[in-house]
Symmetry: D2
Subunit: 370 residues, 4 copies
């Protein structure tokens, strides 16, 4: 399907950048879960544009529960959450609506939707639509946390600036996850933050934009989740991750680093530790044959530089079929990667809850009988 | 779902490495397609183990149509293809069945299936199961070819040996695709073949194994295919690709190469060429916002080194919960990447046909009225 | 899945009887369809409670398009429609919330949702939720009409009062469909209306309720739609119909009337008429082997008497596990069948569009290039 | 999808009446279930044609497990079961292949599959394809029985001959289910058997055929299963039931009998009995609002008379578009209802397991750790 994803926990996304409101329906939630309003607002805040390193569009992103919640708790019915659009500048777009912004969807959308797409601000393709995904994801994160499963994503690389790696040690990793989840700019090594901010500021001043690499870790995920052949955890996670606009690559564990290694160098050997089976390395990122092995799940996601830049670019008018130059006006992000990390966490959490329900059923997450 | 994939063209996989037979049901095929037996056999041959660079298990891999084909043509009904297993050596496995082969599914399968999994030769997880996928893929490739869409995958990198890139020019690319599809070892630059073979032979002699990177190109794919938000072409392709055993990363276009670039360096600017809208570069690999843009679709897939190696490794017995050493016996591949390329093509073709049917319906590929 | 239905045209339902708003997301609509506002409002009006034969709850049922429509036309993106709840009387429900209304969901919902369900007015189970279904259905009816396909449902039986049958002749049938679609109380023979109204009034005065049988006909549906084995038209239609609250039976063509007949009496023999293959009778209701045969599709749906009656009934308190008597207060419908007919039409239209897209793809309904 | 059904327990059907073999892939089975070979063979025998009241085609219907079973137990992997076709008479069909058998799929299949369908013996549409469904169903019945859930179907009506009803009392009902499941001709009142057999024999001698009504009961099904809005138990069961060839109607509980009743007559009032909530009547057939209420689930299914009769009928040649007469030759069933009952049980069991897994997950049915 198209705007619905998930077998058990299903989300359906709707809305456009300049419409009245955007939203998401989350279906399949267990009943009796008290909405963690604080977590929800925190997650929304992590996605929010702030300061000069992001778009000038400022939305308060208040999430309103339209259904599925009664007396503060989930009812087990579809939970529709909506967010109003308030700060849209639609006139920025009408002048150049027939000129394809390079690396954007304008041209393909025009073909696919025969010219009827809502072009204002990217319409349904806009990064604005990640706001309801983050709202939905907050509910999934809450479910995972209740089971002792924690996850987080940091900006491993922004342009040429590199953050430290996640720790191999699970206790240290838990501490790192807690810390980055609290930060607006998710870094393990705080000292690189100024360099990253500077890289974004430079890009902005050059009417340009930068991208980077996100790294995600998931701790305490149970062994044996994921379905061969076609619903491996890697398949389902990558499916969800590539739904995020600027994502162009996903690698698990060592990923592309496997290419020039010998098996003997990168196989994850096993041992017994504290009565539990663990691997001595984690090159496979916690997944064997598409199934979780109990080690931290780890993967990287590359986010391309935001294509909407003010620099003059060459393009075409797809209505008149003429070559033309284009200088994009309007408010745009010189970088989105520091905001995208919480979108990644959201899609990941939604996917993992769905995977867990495949094995354990919806009642696994159910609240106690009222 | 688990062993079924596809919305319109659906495949269902079954069988185990050492079972009587393995097979696939392809549902949703249009009626009236004459089976291209030559193409099917060619594709099966490309996957086949041969010489010393692959496993010593030799199967004739004869594909038998059990249903869905009548008088040599598809009927529109589910097409079940089966392949008999003939050369299995099951006793190799029973001795060490409770010892987890590093980076393999043994331990996670034991947890997931409560000890009831068929451990012989990897059971349902075996690379042997890619044989029916290739058979199914051959039908999909045939459908694409009939629409003038061509695809192919070459071994871009094997261990440290690098092949040339696909050409940007579409005519040259078409020639390259034709050539590599004819070769057992798919390379653009034939001169690197001996180095690659040597790398595999070395690995084999060291009781080790190597992996690498596959690069795929798809030519003449129409503009406007792929569904936002959650069924983007990238989402569906990656979902399918990560279903293949050893795949640990997928990147489209420039992929992870986007991380340290400015938007102005990597945005694909547009122009009119021969009355058609094209991009002057193809860093996005033919996909914008998850939708095809008419340029060649290009992506890379990393295949980790085959984990089954004869070298002594450390592991655990998951029944007795004891540490142990393990030297894997039996016949194994020192490399599978040169065989995996046709599996990638198969999963890609099946996925693309499915995407095309989302937009155009099943009748798009239908034969003329008899 | 649960609150999402459809392979190609997918609807997702949300909301509760006494929540802020209810709504539906329609995904998979072709782009460029001008919303027929008049038809939409007409359909909503057909469902609306009016007079003394329906509930005293009066909602204006204004449908607001939140997404997926731009400049009056569909964009091809998910179309979210919402309807505000304004006339809810929640206090009617809190007193008796732990007492199971006979033949209602109260008890099963309490078990299923562990006591967290929104019990007010039936919550998500309320007939109120059929309002967004009718809104969604109006779009589907519009698509069918554009292809020359017409459908309609009349009240074949209400309690013991019987309406005439649909005509066999297709021209007369078209006229009948047009007429009943214009009427608030859908009858072929207007003379039975007063008897039906009287039957409802009697039930109301006796604090009781009545049900009946709806009959639906679809004209000009193309030959060859419906998928063996498991997505037959009958399977998909019945799936959709049984989603409607009070429906307890569905029969196609002669239905249960087949039981005591000989094949020779009820087989639909064929002939050539005006260059087209037709059947001389239509006992199979336009469907053979689950596939449309070009004759009018015909089926009947039984709607049980509304279970919410004010008469004293015996029941239990499912919290205290005690026997108790119950007199339901609040506003209720002494009959819903005359309002249910448009819900049936809506679910049918959504399903048929979905079936057509299986064969012809989404682009079948696409608007002309703008 | 088409030939795959189920969210958690998924079956995929393949094969044709006159092909080499027919079969089914059952995916999503829990691991560690010992195949009850005796039950499987018993179920196959119940479906088998025997004596003069059924087709003269005699198949031994030996079910071969191709995958998913290891050492006699399920592995959790897709379980493919195949059955060879041995007694096909293909030449019976070629002469009249372009003449539409009345009430059959010949004409619609010709349109849908553009003339490429396998017409021999009905191809994929043949009742022969119910054999693998019964094999799959036997596994599902086994799972249900392990949870103390029992089901059965009797021939409530054959032409004008009527069987007794299922008992309301659950102990008596259990006894009835056990008895009818043991019988080739499933009747509660054995005394009507001779009349039913005679009705079939009469039809056969008149070159005609008869149908009837099946009634199914399911005992001990847990409260709270079924998903609003679109995956109610009634929706999922009817979807599955209408997949069976000759089924033209399904009604739950009182079904069409609700039409002329007052709510006060048919509402199922509740009481506490032995510490459990029960209803004093069961007019809703164990289902409220699409969700199981713990009472026996009861429904009726109408099976139309087998349309393949030897009597002369009027028809058309759909290739030449000419009117013609037709006398069908070959071996056909004068009645299938007594064989269809086990197909109904099979589809029902598969559906109920699927519904249970929605709530409880696949592990609900899992075997103990080996």
């Amino acid at each position: 399907m198209k705007n619905t994803i998930g077998n058990n926990l299903c989300i359906t996304l709707f809305g456009e950048s300049h419409g009245e409101m955007i939203g998401v329906v989350v279906d399949g939630l267990p009943a009796g879960i008290e909405i963690n309003q604080e977590l929800l607002e925190h997650q929304m805040r992590l996605r929010k544009a702030e300061g000069t390193i992001s778009t000038g569009r400022h939305e308060d992103d208040l999430v309103r529960f339209v259904s599925g919640v009664f007396e503060g708790k989930t009812t087990g019915m579809p939970c529709c959450m909506v967010i109003e659009n308030k700060d849209q500048h639609s006139k920025d777009y009408s002048k150049t609506k027939d000129i394809a912004r390079p690396s954007h969807v304008d041209y393909v959308a025009d073909v696919k939707y025969a010219g009827y797409q809502d072009y204002r601000g990217g319409g349904h393709f806009s990064g604005r639509l990640t706001a309801p995904l983050v709202a939905a994801g907050a509910l999934a994160i809450q479910l995972l946390n209740q089971k002792g499963i924690f996850l987080g994503t940091h900006v491993k690389q922004l342009h040429t600036v590199i953050d430290d790696d996640f720790a191999e040690d699970e206790k240290v990793l838990l501490k790192q996850l807690t810390e980055i989840n609290g930060k607006k700019f998710a870094l393990i090594n705080n000292e690189v933050e100024s360099d990253m901010i500077m890289a974004i500021e430079n890009a902005r001043m050059n009417l340009d934009a930068v991208g980077g690499i996100l790294e995600t870790a998931i701790l305490n995920f149970p062994v044996g989740i994921g379905e061969p052949t076609f619903d491996s955890i890697e398949s389902k996670l990558s499916h969800a991750l590539f739904s995020i606009g600027a994502v162009k690559g996903v690698e698990f564990g060592l990923g592309f680093g496997f290419a020039d290694k010998y098996a003997s160098e990168v196989n994850d050997q096993l041992k017994i530790k504290d009565g539990r089976i663990v691997t001595t390395t984690n090159n496979n990122g916690g997944i064997n044959g598409g199934i979780s092995n109990g080690m931290p799940i780890r993967f990287k996601t590359v986010v391309k530089p935001t294509p909407s830049i003010a620099k003059k670019q060459h393009s075409v008018n797809f209505k008149t079929m003429e070559d033309t130059d284009l200088e994009i006006v309007g408010r745009h992000d010189p970088a989105i990667i520091h905001r995208a990390r919480v979108v990644v966490d959201s899609m990941v959490a939604l996917t993992l809850v769905d995977c867990l329900m495949d094995t354990y059923g919806r009642n696994y997450f159910m609240g106690d009988k009222k």
